[in-house]
Symmetry: C2
Subunit: 340 residues, 2 copies
DNA sequence: CTGTTAGCGCGTTCAG
DNA sequence: CTGAACGCGCTAACAG
């Protein structure tokens, strides 16, 4: 096997005991080290190219310095969240173990094992907006696992989540559209079939729309259509458009709807931005900026949410914040104006 | 501190010694355990809810069961690669530590520390096609680190990489376009400025184009334009299109070019798929499927490449393949036909 | 054939 | 600043 440089080697070379090496490296309170000794140790470390074995340290300390990030890898928003999360963790000397799935919720429960195996010190998951599994929440509490849900458990006070204010975001979108067009905005609500139903976020958006319209003395006009990625019902969207009074202003809860409208405009030779002004309240497919013309939207600031999740998780493991404190962390939306 | 169940507890409860617990769990060769004892141990484990401390095991074994995945998180292709990589690792009981960057190449060198700290057993990186940093290659070799580059070190035999055959992929695209249109295909080559230059992959594509054209008795017609995401020179693209004989067939090395052509068509009221048939040889922005109409392309199978990388890395750590064996791993391209 | 013992791997920590 | 114990599991050598 590879010969490894240990703290013992360093200690010997520097003429001190191993405890000192550790103390120098960690500035251990309670062990004072003279400047010369410290220098000698550092030099020995340098010359021998010594690195602590993080597994040995982890074992002693009972911490792994790793967090698990769980989420659906097909969802680009998860990855955006990951960016913020990872960045913050790295700064704090923490590491991110990636546990992606494709819808497989059972995989989530394996994280419990990882925790008990001491492979991870905590968990962040990017969940669906309506996610609120009770069994999982319980497992987390019973095992006293530092845990944050991004987007999930919106209405469960006992689980710490990072959430955006969907209602406010809708109003911001409407403010923008109104200032831009002065047309009474139509709300195009897309839902994922088969039956009409809205998740928590979309209910908030809907509320926001209705409130805003009333506040502005306008008459709420809403429509809804089922999402269907495989066979979008093109003609249906075309006819929706045909019946609109032009110029029209439309807000979609999902960019999916905006895309369908772009398509229908293409078909009818209508000009986006002129005949029909469109805005989205998300960027699920991450293509808003690539559409022609680019699609403005109020978007969920996932990167920032990841950072906040990391921050709170770190507070949990350091004990700065008690695990019992599950106060929701709220973030404002981000208005992305893309029309040139 | 949390009281932890250790192998000692299990051993006591089962009335055996700790060595047996380990043997039962790992089917250690050389230690035979009777069926009854084995059952007793398993039951004790079950009842006490015992899990091995992976850090303790890792320390003893000198392995962490973790690989690092390094790459640019802004690049969706990295994430695709990750999916395949992670899936394969998980199946083999390995874990993936995520080290994303935003261009920061210095961060890469910190992976060396992670390895020496025994936090990781190997590294995979998603690199740019032209990546071939000599210093990094040396560091890897000197430290004897199991390492795979996806897309990088195309011409360095001493580093193990997973690569696609760009030349062949271009020919496949042309076959498709030819069968579809029977127009002589024009090659639109995009490069990232400021001066005209091609990376390895694009040189291969160019070669493929030229060979194919000659094989088909056609006259190669190539153009090139600089990529500029901030201020795409719209009028330039419009004039390119204006000068084409219609109907035209165009292959772009990057989907960026295809997007510009879509845009120009939009401007000129030309119909994609009819007046101008376009195809791309990549999917860097991951928007091909979302374009209107969807853009067909030959794409790099990153998921599969990730899986292959994981596979080889595992072979390295198990010793099934020697670190000295750096044979390139080649994968075929994937033809994605998206026109309806 | 079945099981035990003791030492190891490596860094941290606390009493002296 | 030192010495020794500790955290936890693995395994070679050894014993019944």
């Amino acid at each position: 096997m590879q010969k490894r440089v240990t703290s013992f080697d360093v200690a010997r070379k520097a003429g001190v005991s191993r405890g000192v090496v550790s103390a120098v490296l960690n500035q251990t309170a309670g062990i004072r080290v003279s400047e010369e000794t410290r220098a000698a140790v550092l030099q020995a470390i340098e010359e021998l190219g010594y690195r602590v074995d993080v597994q040995a340290r982890g074992m002693r300390l009972g911490r792994s310095q790793c967090f698990a990030a769980f989420g659906n890898m097909d969802n680009p928003l998860f990855l955006q969240m990951l960016q913020g999360f990872q960045k913050h963790c790295t700064q704090a000397g923490y590491h991110v173990l990636l546990y992606g799935t494709d819808q497989d919720e059972a995989a989530r429960y394996e994280l419990l094992e990882m925790f008990r195996e001491r492979r991870i010190d905590g968990i962040v998951s990017k969940d669906a907006t309506q996610y609120a599994d009770e069994a999982w929440a319980q497992a987390i509490q019973e095992n006293k696992i530092p845990y944050i849900s991004v987007d999930g458990y919106a209405e469960n006070e006992a689980v710490c989540s990072v959430l955006m204010d969907y209602k406010a975001s809708m109003k911001i979108a409407l403010d923008h559209i109104w200032q831009k067009t002065s047309s009474s905005p139509i709300y195009m609500e897309v839902y994922s079939g088969p039956a009409y139903s809205l998740n928590w976020g979309d209910r908030q958006r809907r509320l926001g729309y209705e409130e805003w319209m009333i506040e502005h003395g306008l008459n709420p006009t809403t429509m809804n259509r089922m999402r269907n990625d495989r066979e979008p019902n093109r003609s249906e969207w075309v006819s929706i458009l045909r019946e609109m009074e032009l110029p029209a202003a439309v807000v979609c809860n999902w960019s999916y709807g905006a895309r369908r409208i772009y398509e229908a405009c293409h078909e009818l030779h209508l000009r986006i931005g002129k005949d029909v002004y469109v805005m989205a309240a998300d960027n699920t497919e991450q293509v808003n900026a690539y559409m022609i013309p680019p699609l403005s939207a109020v978007e969920v600031p996932y990167r920032q949410m990841g950072e906040l999740a990391a921050q709170r998780l770190l507070q949990y493991v350091t004990g700065d914040v008690s695990l019992a404190d599950t106060t929701t962390i709220r973030v404002p939306c981000r208005l992305e104006i893309r029309e040139n």
